[in-house]
Symmetry: C2
Subunit: 385 residues, 2 copies
């Protein structure tokens, strides 16, 4: 297949692009390099020494049969260029990672809130419109988040996007199927709930084939592919805005920095390894089934209560754990029952967190510990205004 990967220079995007290429697909990476730009803005950087997109692709194209092409383009703005590239490439599938993906960044101030809203929504609208205009059988695979669900009903198994429902009005009962009610916890998560409305709209109006992958917190660094050459190394975020919890814990343990738990640590979160993320993208891209609705998969493999996760790492490393005031406004005692039912059906083999895998990741962090800026670790963004 010909597959365009929007945001293919990012953490999940790079890993997924290489997996697709390795599996024989023609991959075209579109990226405006905004993630690298935000690193500069925050004066932060990947713990791992990632190479420029040009160098990465040069090396990949030397060692792999299928070549990747890169186009520097801002999907949220460069509409004419985007249209002409899609016309030229004639993709079967577009995988869409090109959104601002940090909840804390989306909450820093009004400017980052607005950037997240406009970037994420316009990017989606541009893609959806052009698919409807140019060729309706392009399959759009979008990276959503499990954070759209909120935790109102999460003591029960979460559905994959939809509930069967009875609605009550006066004496009438309406039997129907509804998109799960959205209850996002940050502006970032909110944009993904707004994206869902866009998908419903374009699917209904123009019959687009859309898969929305509601992903959990991704952990790990490298994949089978990024390990093939040092210059292919994947990024590793540990700063207060872009560092996600499990990777941050591992990096902290490796550097003898007390693990930072926000609030009680009773929060439960969904997790997935970066290798499984790449697997899921491949499985979703190869999914030949026809949909008569937006297809939604929960993309996680397991859930952890954060304080238990911290203890797991403490057991291996004897690190300290520190509780800090929670910068978020959230229910710290949530429940979460979720399984990747649809992706398992497509063939996903879940990678579970094990002591061995934690040790591998600790080794990555130790290797690059000289690159760490400890001042960047603490969360600074506040949900309270």
């Amino acid at each position: 297949m010909r597959i365009i990967v929007l945001g293919g220079d990012g953490f999940c995007g790079w890993a997924s692009a290489l997996r697709l290429s390795r599996k024989g697909h023609d991959v075209y990476i579109f990226d405006n390099l905004s993630r690298r730009k935000i690193d500069k803005e925050l004066n932060a950087s990947s713990l791992t020494p990632i190479k420029s997109i040009y160098q990465r692709i040069k090396v990949w194209n030397k060692i792999n049969k299928k070549k990747i092409k890169f186009y520097k383009i801002d999907i949220s703005k460069e509409i004419l260029k985007l249209e002409s590239l899609i016309k030229k490439i004639r993709p079967d599938t577009i995988v869409h990672f090109a959104e601002q993906r940090s909840a804390p960044y989306s909450m820093i101030n009004l400017k980052t809130r607005n950037y997240t809203l406009s970037n994420n929504i316009l990017t989606n609208n541009n893609i959806l419109y052009l698919i409807a205009k140019l060729k309706r059988n392009i399959h759009l695979i979008h990276l959503g988040t499990m954070g759209v669900y909120g935790y109102d009903f999460s003591k029960f198994l979460l559905p994959e996007g939809y509930y069967k429902a009875k609605l009550f009005i006066k004496k009438n009962i309406i039997n129907t199927k509804i998109l799960h009610p959205a209850n996002p916890g940050s502006i970032y998560h909110l944009t993904k709930a707004q994206d869902e409305l866009l998908f419903q709209f374009y699917q209904k109006m123009y019959g687009l084939k859309i898969t929305d992958l509601h992903q959990g917190v991704v952990w790990g660094t490298n994949t089978k592919e990024t390990l093939l050459h040092p210059d292919l190394i994947n990024r590793y975020d540990y700063d207060g805005d872009y560092g996600t919890v499990l990777n941050r814990f591992i990096m902290q343990a490796a550097l003898n920095y007390p693990l930072t738990l926000h609030g009680s640590g009773n929060q439960v979160r969904p997790f997935i390894n970066i290798n499984n993320t790449a697997d899921c993208i491949l499985l979703a891209a190869q999914n030949k089934k026809k949909f008569n609705e937006v297809k939604i998969f929960n993309q996680l493999t397991e859930t952890f209560r954060l304080k238990n996760l911290a203890k797991k790492i403490q057991k291996l490393t004897n690190c300290k754990i520190m509780h800090h005031k929670n910068p978020r406004i959230e229910n710290e005692n949530n429940t979460l029952v979720a399984k990747p039912m649809g992706l398992i059906e497509l063939g996903l083999k879940p990678i579970k967190l094990s002591d061995n895998l934690i040790k591998n990741e600790l080794a990555v962090s130790k290797r690059y510990s000289f690159r760490a800026d400890l001042n960047k670790i603490r969360a600074k963004s506040q949900w309270r205004i």
Copy 2:
């Protein structure tokens, strides 16, 4: 009360601002005059000869005890100016009409889709953020649309925003209350559904007091206040993008132009007179009740099937009726059962469409018929891409 009216130079905004001022409130109009700018872009104009905002306000301030102040500001962009004005004015209430409000305009092309999305969402986010930041007891009254509901369940009475619901997952039954599922029919309507998610978010996070008025199609021209002086005349849109159905029919009948019915004409729509719009804004602003959720009212007074509405006007004027291909992608045989329950409870006295009121409006159209550009009447914007 001190009340800021965002978008107070528009059709509903102007009528409402004057009503609030006449009832003794201190009114501050904020507007970027985008509606007048879009008129130029579309080479269209109000059938009625509206005066500049400066002239309008000068005249109003001469004849009315309470004075209106006007600030030219783009709420979607000028954040610092907006913040300092809110600090200075210390409003009790902000009435928010400052969104792109035409469904056909939102569907013309990708540019107008994106403008509608970013303008409407950023405008809301800026206001909500600043209210949360500056003074949490500012009541935000937002003009939404009944179009967020869609027509899936509309053979039953529509709720005012929320359903009691049972959700089913495996063997579990979840008893809850949900925001009605959104099923918007255009990008414009979609933005209002996305707005709803913003409201839910800011209400939950920061305890904001928000009223969302889900309004129907507004008809009529002048109000008691705009009739006080010729320079206060309200706008009358009849062009294919901004002209709404009942006003367009009346104008067409007055000019012996066959009434344009799109598709079968079996569509049912909700309606409200512009005087009632102003009433509803006043009632919502004076509503002292505390809310523990976003308060949603359906702002309509009656519903009509469009072909019956056309026949009603034909009976009075002997005009012709023409069916045209429907530019929209929509269910042409919808049902709609809706009542303004909450607003009636607050004191709304519904104005129903009568032969006399139609005759009044016909007279307005006839008086200004020399200003009409018949080439602008037909709908050009296509839902199909």
